[in-house]
Subunit: 400 residues, 2 copies
Amino acid sequence: MEWEDLARELSQTTETKIVLLVMDGVGGLPLDGRSELETARKPNLDELAKKGVCGVSDPVLMGITPGSGPAHLALFGYDPLRYQLGRGILEALGSGVEVGRNDLVARGNFATARGGLVVDRRAGRIPTEENVRICAHLNGHLPRREGVDVRVFPGKEHRFVARFTAEGLADALSDADPQKEGKPPLPTTPLVPEAAKASAVVNRFLGDVASVLKDEAKANTALLRGFSKFPSIPTMQELFRLRPAAIANYPMYKGLAKLLGMDVMDVGGETGELFDALEKNWAAHDFFYVHYKKTDSAGEDGKFAAKVAAIEAIDPFIPRLLALKPDVLVVTSDHSTPALLGGHSWHPNPFVLVSPTAGADDVAVFSERACAKGLLGRFRAISAMPLMLAHALKLQKYGA
Amino acid sequence: MEWEDLARELSQTTETKIVLLVMDGVGGLPLDGRSELETARKPNLDELAKKGVCGVSDPVLMGITPGSGPAHLALFGYDPLRYQLGRGILEALGSGVEVGRNDLVARGNFATARGGLVVDRRAGRIPTEENVRICAHLNGHLPRREGVDVRVFPGKEHRFVARFTAEGLADALSDADPQKEGKPPLPTTPLVPEAAKASAVVNRFLGDVASVLKDEAKANTALLRGFSKFPSIPTMQELFRLRPAAIANYPMYKGLAKLLGMDVMDVGGETGELFDALEKNWAAHDFFYVHYKKTDSAGEDGKFAAKVAAIEAIDPFIPRLLALKPDVLVVTSDHSTPALLGGHSWHPNPFVLVSPTAGADDVAVFSERACAKGLLGRFRAISAMPLMLAHALKLQKYGA
């Protein structure tokens, strides 16, 4: 019997409401002795640490740096070592592209090739309107190939999603992306024999794109990566009997939420919009995933002060969240993104849980080192969901 | 997907260097309120605790007292519940005995039997030269048995290794050792039906030894234990893409290191020799396992003051280690050996990690109780390797 079996057996629907606020990449490392969280002025987040119980959580395993996919899966109660989701499928779903059983999807970049070499992997970051025009042109002019349907969907700037529909397409394909400029475009190769058909389909498409776009000034070739098919994964309704809502702005997170059966709310990039959406949808759901991206973006850019500012920017909204009186409120991150490293890291996430049944510890500050001394100790992030459900009284007793 | 699969997928070779200093059995229990580590004057080890982050690790599972084999396997990133290594194979490899696929090995004692009873399990601890003479005599005079080749290899004092070479020898055999004096020599028995042949081969050998040595004054019989075959275990090169070196003095630890693919350096019993060897081999490797035995020996002997002295004796060498500027330095033990118990115990190991990406906690003393309040919290020792690799930036990101 594993956690997932327990969840199916013990979960029950109740009137209680859970809010999981993910401050993406909020965990960091000290600069001059203090981390981003230790530097920021954030009285409301610290007040949560005082009121609730704290701990630190490892997204996957100690020492493992996760991508956003596995890190979020764990927070939602799914074993990130069991479910492996391609970035292509997350991007596609998050962009509103419908994906079915016979579909293979990938993330694409329009790029500039000259003299047989990729000279700009992002085609000068063409405007999104250009991208829309080019995708429409491709969908109208790509040659029809027997038994295969291909469509491209524009994203922001140079990004798009490609969807291949045919029988027997496998997703074990290498990225068709040279990764560096000054190299020729790279065909995909099958990583297992069963992916040979998919590889041929994709490479023919790449040739077709180059032909159709040969007169474009910038976007005259395509790079593809993260090939993936629709994964078999149970929804949060099935596993936890929740009515979950996702409030997120970026395609990746919206895609993952949709995959797990969440109702995905459309919000813009302003921090206040997250809380507007939360208030607006409060009545109809009992689990709210709220995704705050700015902490991660600043960390990825290696900007310590900007990350501090991003923490300070969300802090004043916490009282609005508390005014809704959630039965369980958790604030944590999916993974750490220390500005010092300029990327995701393996460091554990600070974690605070506020609930009438939380108990008490002595933590008074929401930070890495303070949370590590909390009642919750150090735990794997996959335990966050059972903890939230338990404090919401949504899990029945195991055994007699 | 488990840690071992992740390791194979994510490990990358870099220029960074890791030092793992194992102070064998250093964890202890208080006498008059202070443990061995809390009693010792060890400013350099405490300085590491201030600089780095601390925690405590369970070798196998909470409450489980490990032998040196499983305890070390865990520290090296191998699941000690998956890989079970006989003491015989470790002793054999550590003593320089070559072991192949058809070989069954065991640790032996020469003993004194009189009137059908074992009266001295160590044959009066005969001098090593005597042991060498007796082994040569046995190898020359043991009767040749069809399809079986047997050789004995002298160790220190009364200890030897026996190696049986034949088709179809299994190692599921009970120890051929009555454990107590005043009892008759004990034949081995097969623990599974497939070990019947091996059992017969071993028992015939024990009879042959008693015949050949019947006129010896002391060493006139043999006891055997820890029957084992060469295990199937991946090397640290395969799993972690490391170029590992082992700096250890005792056969057991050298044997284990060799089994895992480490280059084993020959060092004597003086503490300074560990650091001489470390400096000498610094350029050619990127992972250094340094084994300090004296803390464990004193603990095993139940000598609290001697264990304190052993801690104080290595402390002045820490600056030499730091002068090499390792990217990651971990000081911990494989298991605890409290002088109060006079043997291995189940208590977790104090653990300190020093690295530019360590982060910060408030621990200022290297001891059991201080480390338990550190940022690393309480974790299983099998997480030590992913942590070290992560801080050395030797692990790529998992998933997108």
